[in-house]
């Protein structure tokens, strides 16, 4: 089962890469069509091996993920619309693993003591006064 899933994912990814390849060739071969900035972008991304699959990600999918985490539906749509393909891919793959900057401490007293010492030692920077 696992192997089969893996295989189908691999096949899908390969198909995507080939589809991209075919797309560029077509674009360059057809004499009177323009090479667009989007095509150049995709080409650079493929060259970087960044986000080669991401063009098939739907914005609606990431939008739903944001909404499921408490973001207002209309806001989620606007937020997703402002994202680049690479950003969409990053978010979609790891929305719960990516670090979220919050900047305030929720720790028990014992940890506070450790952090104060570490702050004094210059390792951490949680208490701006120290």
């Amino acid at each position: 089962m696992k192997i089969r899933t893996l295989k189908s994912v691999t096949t899908w990814m390969l198909a995507t890469v080939f589809a991209f390849g075919a797309m560029f060739q077509q674009a360059y071969a057809a004499p009177q069509t323009m090479v667009t900035t989007e095509q150049l972008m995709q080409e650079m991304q493929v060259a970087d091996q960044r986000a080669s699959v991401n063009n098939f990600l739907s914005r609606a999918d990431v939008q739903a993920q944001l909404a499921a985490r408490g973001v207002d539906a209309a806001d989620a749509q606007a937020r997703v619309n402002a994202m680049s393909q690479a950003e969409l891919a990053a978010l979609s793959a790891q929305i719960d693993e990516l670090p979220a900057g919050e900047g305030l401490l929720e720790t028990v007293l014992f940890l506070l003591v450790i952090f104060m010492l570490l702050d004094i030692a210059g390792v951490t920077d949680i208490f701006p006064g120290l």
Partner: protein, 283 residues
């Protein structure tokens, strides 16, 4: 009495732990920078006019974002940014969304190289730098956004707008440790037409192309600035030419490509676009 002896035992143990961690966390960049003779250090700089918004609970993201946007003449308050970057169930803001929201407010987010020198160079160019930090430890992360506004070579400190402190001064090695734990992530918000100090061709191209999708009408100034900086770089010339073409300025779109082909005669996408534009001009 028994409590006291417990404390006595604990404190040296914690100090020992702290020293171990200090020993682990090397700060190569600060060392490299500060080992220079003092007359070869970068000059001091402080962007004193950068506004300050003391952050509310969990909302360093909106506060830091408002800080750089307002400095770039975008009239927006942290409260208005909450609906753009804050994720309630995560009680925080993701880096990706900080970049996207910058774009929404008509500024180009440009992620700079992860070096202290790059930060200082941006400050010199007048760009406050939004940084991501882990103020805690890798195992007990305390993720945080702040804005670097100055560098003080005498005190060997960076000056930040951070949390509830308007002028948070941090020793370079301390900053480096907190920044290193957040993979040295930092970006500047550019008004279209401005180049970052650390401008690099392909990163700039991607930044402008991503921006263009959302604001085609505003991206012309950014392409033009890039083209002035790197007239012989194919992707920049192509981006600029395509933008001119979309605006209906076929003559200038063609002349940018002709210029590029005079330097790189074999660059096929430019040949193809030029011939398409010429066809269209004749018909």
């Amino acid at each position: 009495m028994s409590m006291r002896s417990g404390t006595r035992l604990r404190v040296p143990f914690l100090l020992f732990l702290a020293f171990l961690l200090v020993a682990c966390a090397a700060t190569p960049q600060s060392q490299q920078l500060l080992s220079r003779p003092s007359d070869q250090l970068p000059e001091g700089v402080e962007l004193v006019d950068v506004p300050f918004f003391p952050q509310e609970l969990y909302q360093c993201g909106p506060a830091a974002l408002a800080t750089i946007l307002q400095y770039n003449q975008v009239a927006v308050q942290p409260d208005e940014l909450v609906s753009h970057v804050y994720i309630p169930s995560r009680q925080g803001s993701l880096q990706v969304e900080m970049l996207a929201a910058t774009r929404t407010f008509e500024r180009i987010p440009y992620v700079i190289p992860g070096t202290l020198t790059a930060i200082i160079n941006e400050l010199d160019a007048g760009n406050p730098v939004l940084v991501f930090q882990n103020l805690g430890l890798s195992v007990l992360p305390q993720w945080h956004y702040a804005v670097v506004v100055g560098f003080d070579p005498e005190q060997q400190e960076l000056i930040l707008r951070s949390g509830t402190v308007r002028e948070h001064r941090v020793a370079l090695p301390v900053f480096e440790r907190t920044w290193q734990r957040a993979e040295h992530w930092a970006y500047v918000a550019l008004t279209p037409g401005d180049l970052p100090a650390s401008a690099e061709v392909s990163d700039y191209f991607m930044a402008v192309a991503d921006f263009q999708r959302l604001h085609p009408e505003l991206s012309g100034a950014a392409w033009q600035a890039g083209y002035q900086q790197w007239p012989d770089q194919a992707v920049i010339a192509m981006g600029y030419s395509n933008w001119l073409y979309q605006q209906g300025d076929l003559a200038r779109a063609a002349s940018v490509l002709e210029q590029l082909l005079s330097i790189q005669p074999d660059y096929q996408p430019a040949q193809q676009n030029l011939s398409a534009i010429r066809n269209e001009m004749q018909s």
